[in-house]
Amino acid sequence: MLTARGYWFLTLVALLLALGVLVLPDYTVVPAILGLTLLAWFTWEWVLFQVRVYGCATRLRAERRLVQGGREVPMVWAGLAFEVRVRVSHDGFARLPFVYLEDRLPQAADLNAGKNGVAFDITADTPANLSFTLKAPGPGVLRFEGVRVRVADVHGFFHHRRFLRDGIETLILPPFTDEEGRQRADKRMNTLPPPGGHRLRRPGSGSELLDLRDYIPGDPPKMIAWKASARRDRLITKVYESDVPVRAVLFLDTSEGVRLGPPGTTPLARMAALASGVAQAAASNRDLVGLTTFDEEAAAAMKPARTRIHMLGMMRRLAEVAALQPTPRGAPPEQLTRRAYPLAEELYPDLTNRKLNTMPLGRLWLPMLDKWWGWVVLLLILSPALTTSSLAYFGPNDNVLGIYPNKIALWWINFTAYFGNYLIRHTFVRSLDGFTRIFGALVCLLIAFFVPSLIGGLIWFIHGVRGWFGRKKVELVQRKRLCAVMAQLDGSGPDAVERLVHDDAAYAVRVGNFLADRQVRVPVPLYDELGRYRFRSPAKVPVLAGELVRAVSRARDNELYVILADLAELGPDLGPLEKAARVARARKHHVMVILPWPAGLPGPDDKPTAADALPGRRPATAATVRDALAKHYHEQFRRVRRALGRAGATVIRVNETDPVRVVLDRLDRLRGLRTRR
């Protein structure tokens, strides 16, 4: 609570007071008076600050509102700026003359205008109002943690830190219309069937003529084609086509591999934005859209529908999955602590306070018996006692199992006696007289006898005390405090503290979840100990194939299945998906696969630029590696395209033309006509 400035000032005042009171009063009393005056001033400022902290700062409350488009909203749209209004007030009796409030910005949005941190003077009647504008680049979840509060006195002697936790999560819905309200869909030709339907060449109640047939008794008279009947001289009935809705089912990959990357720009976020564009464009034409999200283990499906509630639910689902983060499996605990502890200290300053979250020195002591040689040292420490006990128990000449162990003990006694005698004769003890000489001789003998214990004790002390210093100590202290915070948040009590301290795997999972919940990127290793890519996720292919077959089994008419998945590295494992795609094609459905494409990677059909292919110039190592990786990725992509193309699926890349337009074109084809270019 006392700042460095406060410490320095207090030290100077203490010096002035000590000299003034003890040394100088016979020469001048002014230093003592000045010291007491300054001490009184400092004490008054301290008391005032304490009163303000306990009377007001502990009563601070924060309220938050999000405003977009001039009205308060429960969720926001990506790509559009929105205003955050935070009101901080207290009902205390005093005034906080200098409070710095800083709203912690969510990871998924960037500051667009205004300041998120301002100094205020807060009383019960005049709350602080903080206002700034944010903009979220992509869909996801917007998590506000709360407001950082820093209270100080006007002189800078004291300082108090709090965090008004106000953890709320708001969805960032993927955008459909841009800032000018333009829809992404194109205008269709007037010859298209009414929105929401497409022609199915089966008899039905549509508006387009399918066929003419002979009249069958019971046909409604209005269906009789009178001109054709007159020409043929018999009653002919008109048969109309069926108008059935177009259905599109989106399959979105949410596996670990597509969650990697900076927040808001992960492959998953880009695919979610694409899925949102497709879904909303289709919905605006009253087509039915369904969504299935899948990962390595399970899938969750939403049946195709076109109601507004369904669309909102789909947007919500897309926003939620867009914010998913990779599980920190295999991440070293030290790295996790380095990320998580500062965050915990920032968000939970009350729980990481060293007065509440203690670390006794005894816990930092390094136990020697964890090492195999610790037992040797222990034997060394106990050797005098063991020797004496052995002699006392067995006697000097006892034979145990054919050996004479006490010969060693006797030798040891003789040696210590010789060494003690040497000490007596060659140290200051020789010059002592009377009782002191006896006492000194006794001490020399005891020292000689307990030399192994002293050496062993010294080794034990040096080994143990190392735990009090250095990087290891810092890591252990931070980890214990973090584990206590986790235990506190989970309500798992003291049991969980020591378990998390010891169990690296459990610690990694818990701290990883802590970071992921707060949208902090977890440093995950990309490759395992054998150098294999850890996020290939082949297990997602059977899950996806199963969901595709399931969708086919429940389909009514010709449907479009759009698979948004990262399959580039899964060429040899695509068998189940190929089979499922063949099943879908056999039932006259359309299958389209859209692969996310790494940012900055040229397409497989792009020609190398002139700068890349200068003759006589050796490429740099990084460029060579980049080219090799690009070639590898292109080859994988071609393999996937070939494999799925054989099964009748269309494979495109996310950054290839406009995927939304391609999907909508395909929907139009299903509807019966093409769009006009």
């Binding site: 400035r5 020469y27 005056t37 800078g156 729980l351 509440l356």
Partner: protein, 292 residues
């Protein structure tokens, strides 16, 4: 080729920065209050014969006020202490047998104490407005630290007047406490271990302790019991304002501390078992799912 636009884009000079710092009238008010305190210090030191010391204090203090030097109060205090003991700049100091007897409520001392408090208060307030008002945040993850200053808008109307009043009060308190301290005597056999001295002589030897020890006991006792009382009051207040989360953390930590030796042992064995099984699985001696 230089143009007018280029001239306008030049970074502000040193003088411009200083002028900008005191552009606000409220900040200038604090500056003048600090300079006034320094002037008063100079006058009092001059009156005591320490004209060089007074001049040094005035120059150093004024430079610190204008330029925002953090260390200038420390130097001002040390120089002040030196020239109070050695008014003419050189040892030895002159012993004054009447200093203790007549050393309370002197006008010059009162003025000096008031001027010093005023100067220090103005200096630290100005420092908070122009340089740094609160310590930098610990380097947390994901945000940069920047020095926080107190905006001049937060200087309330009447702040200077309240500072004057507070200065008068603390000067009075300092004088009273000093008068009490030098008039106390220790009586180990009396009903109360401390009592006021009967005589007002130059050297009081009536107590059981020598005068400097008596002063030491009085000042240390005052500080000790004052701290104890404050700790009691604010400690209780802190407990009253403790949040449920803090209370739960207190209990969790106490429970962990009481049982940590057993828990360390149990968890050590558990992890040993986990590692042993993992090693055996890795070595192929044990398949997953078989009895361990």
């Amino acid at each position: 080729m230089s143009t007018d636009a280029d001239t306008d884009d030049k970074p502000p000079g040193f003088l411009d920065a200083v002028t900008e710092r005191f552009a606000d009238v409220r900040v200038r008010g604090l500056l003048f209050a600090g300079l006034g305190g320094l002037a008063m210090l100079f006058v009092v030191m001059f009156e005591r014969g320490a004209d060089v010391g007074g001049l040094l204090i005035a120059v150093l203090g004024a430079a610190g006020l204008v330029l925002g030097w953090r260390a200038s109060p420390a130097f001002v205090l040390l120089i002040l202490l030196y020239f109070l003991v050695f008014p003419y700049g050189l040892p030895p100091p002159e012993e004054d047998p009447f200093e203790l007897e007549y050393g309370t409520f002197r006008v010059a001392d009162v003025l000096m104490a008031a001027a010093l408090v005023m100067y220090l208060s103005a200096h630290y307030r100005l420092l908070g407005i122009t340089r740094l008002a609160m310590p930098n945040e610990p380097g947390g993850f994901g945000h940069k630290t920047s020095p926080r200053t107190r905006p001049a808008d937060l200087i309330r109307k009447g702040e200077l007047l309240r500072t004057f009043t507070l200065t008068a009060v603390v000067v009075l308190v300092g004088q009273i406490v000093w008068a009490v301290v030098i008039n106390l005597e220790v009586d180990t056999l009396g009903d109360s271990p401390l009592r006021f001295a009967d005589n007002t002589g130059v050297r009081r030897d009536g107590g059981d302790l020598s005068p400097w020890r008596t002063r030491l006991v009085a000042v240390v006792g005052l500080l000790f019991f004052g701290t104890l009382f404050a700790r009691l009051v604010f400690g209780y207040w802190r407990l009253r304002t403790m949040t449920p989360a803090e209370g739960a953390m207190l209990l969790t930590d106490a429970g962990w501390d009481e049982t940590r030796r057993e828990r360390v042992r149990v968890e050590g064995w558990r992890m040993w078992g986990v590692k042993r099984v993992a090693d055996r699985v890795r070595a192929g001696k044990l398949d997953k799912g078989t009895k361990r």
